[in-house]
């Protein structure tokens, strides 16, 4: 049994009842290596914030855990048992569900059609539009997306924040035990962002374990129990909320940025003198 440790980085101690463990996951796309021996754990009922720069591998990791694509190597344990995820639908049947950023919505479909996409209520052969519309409306009201006038609007006509809210509201219909939220706070105004954070808390209260990708560290600390930082395809930081601070998270990212700049300078001058 391997413990999730990566080199000299201090990691939180795994617990016996962790709902999800990702062990030694690597992912290569041809010559490009997106993830290197990633170990990640998710406690039962925990909200884990996953942060990192663009291209650090966050989305790749999420796509592997939700069954959208297989890892090159490594394994995934759900409730301590190894699972082989072959598709999004199969992962969903195991209780792992994903909410992508608003990019995954279909602009030509209405709000309620999007909220029920691929989990429609059907009385064969017809869709039960009335029933879905009603449920979607109740859901929208319940989570307080007040700016939305009607669930019959085409998503193409909504603002970025409204779309994001719809994308997250979709998750309420899943019976997921593990929920993956890919940047639920992207493109959000302050008010809309607060509504989404409330929604995440509500999901947590229902006992759902959540991994949330985010950019805004303040919001991450507001709702997450633990924070992981993904840098260059590796988890380089894993701390409980009470053991870290906004300053520490910001400093880590800034130093990474500084390092990247220095590397660029060095390689740039290297090329000039070398050739």
């Amino acid at each position: 049994m391997s413990t999730p440790e990566t080199g000299d980085v201090a990691m939180t101690t795994p617990k016996a009842d962790d709902i999800l463990r990702v062990e030694h996951i690597s992912k290569r796309y041809g010559a490009v290596t997106a993830l290197v021996d990633v170990n990640l754990r998710l406690g039962r009922g925990e909200v884990l914030g996953l942060i990192g720069d663009n291209g650090a591998g966050k989305s790749t990791l999420i796509k592997i855990i939700c069954g959208f694509q297989p890892p090159t190597s490594g394994r995934i344990l759900l409730n301590g048992e190894e699972v082989h995820l072959t598709s999004v639908t199969q992962a969903r049947s195991l209780g792992i569900d994903v909410v992508y950023q608003d990019l995954a919505l279909i602009p030509q479909l209405t709000v309620y059609q999007n909220m029920f996409l691929n989990r429609e209520q059907v009385r064969w052969p017809l869709l039960r539009n009335r029933s879905m519309r009603k449920a979607a409306k109740e859901q929208i009201d319940a989570i307080g997306i007040t700016t939305l006038k009607s669930v019959d609007l085409e998503v193409a006509s909504l603002s970025g924040g409204q779309r994001q809210a719809i994308a997250v509201a979709r998750s309420v219909y899943s019976d997921a035990k593990v929920l993956l939220l890919d940047e639920p706070l992207a493109a959000m105004g302050v008010k809309e962002g607060a509504a989404i954070l409330d929604l995440v808390r509500g999901l947590k209260d229902r006992g759902i374990s959540i991994i949330m990708i985010a950019h805004n560290y303040g919001q991450v600390l507001e709702v997450c129990d633990r924070v992981n930082l993904l840098q260059g395809g590796k988890i380089t930081f894993d701390k409980y909320r009470q053991d870290t601070s906004l300053e520490e998270l910001t400093e880590m990212v800034v130093s990474e940025y500084r390092k990247a700049l220095e590397d660029r300078h060095r390689s740039a001058s290297g090329t000039i003198t070398g050739s």
């Binding site: 990019l103 995954a104 602009p107 030509q108 479909l109 996409l117 006038k149 009607s150 019959d152």
Partner: protein, 352 residues
Amino acid sequence: MSDVSETAERSPETFGTAPDQRRNGSSVLSRAATMFLKQREASVLAIAVILFIYFATTTTAFVSHGSIVNIAQFMAPYVVIGIGLVLLMVCGEIDLSVGFVWMLSPYVMHFFVDSGIPTFLAIVITILLLAVVIGGINGVVTTVFGVPSLITTLGSGYIIFGYALTISSAQQINLPPESLGLGRWFGGAPWSEIIWATVLVVIFQIILTRTRWGLYTVSVGGNLLGARESGIRVNRIKIGNFMMCAGLGALAGILEAFKNNIIDPSAGQLAVVLYALAGVVIGGTAMLGGSGTMIGLWLGVLVLAILQDGFNLRGISSNKFQIILGAAILLAMIANTYLTRLRSAGRLQSKA
């Protein structure tokens, strides 16, 4: 225009309970939006009505039994293959080979009847066989090998063309005598073909707007990656629609053979695909996928048929008619683009 005013008159309560409603009119704004969206079909209907009135008042014999039958018979096969093209265009693909399936299918049916299979069964087998084989190949080459469907179906179209010419020796053949009785139901009788076309339009309009298949077809064309990430099996949807398109092409070929009472190697081919595409785009189906309408298709082809019949009766040669057809396509597309721009302006307002 009539369906627009009908929508406007419905109260919010009837909206909540009406079995056929697609959008809840919970606010005046969304109801106005609904009306506006519906105008895509309504504007084609208006054009058809105006053209009809124009020819009815200026052209003798336009409103006669013979003329109306001509319009109906003319439009029917384009509507049939147009249904398949709408399905494909909504999910972001196209099929140029469907006209060659049209050409091939009556020969295949003839072969099965000659082999002793009863006509009805021969028709069903022909449609299913061509749907699965040709539609399947088109779909797999496009989705699995990633060849753009325009190219895929250009290639498969030529293959089918050559195959049909080879097996027929490019010769006309008569329909099997024993098939002519049933053939009356399949295009032989004057109204049978348009009835097929219209019933199919109604069925596929329901499929497109009220079933999971239609929802997924729109999703695949509207946002391919999003649909895939939602767990929709996008290749399956596309391949299925390629199959339906090929099957409809096979049906159109058989209907036309019975209508013309001959199996003709010059039937179908690329010209009919382009003609049907004209009807599809005039009807308001988007070139870029994600939205389309079967009723609009029916009306779009009706516009073409009225133009063809009307100018024919006025003695304008079919050569010159091509110019009118081209102008009609361009005008319709300009109108559609303009309407779309108006629509997005409406969206900006609704955001505020």
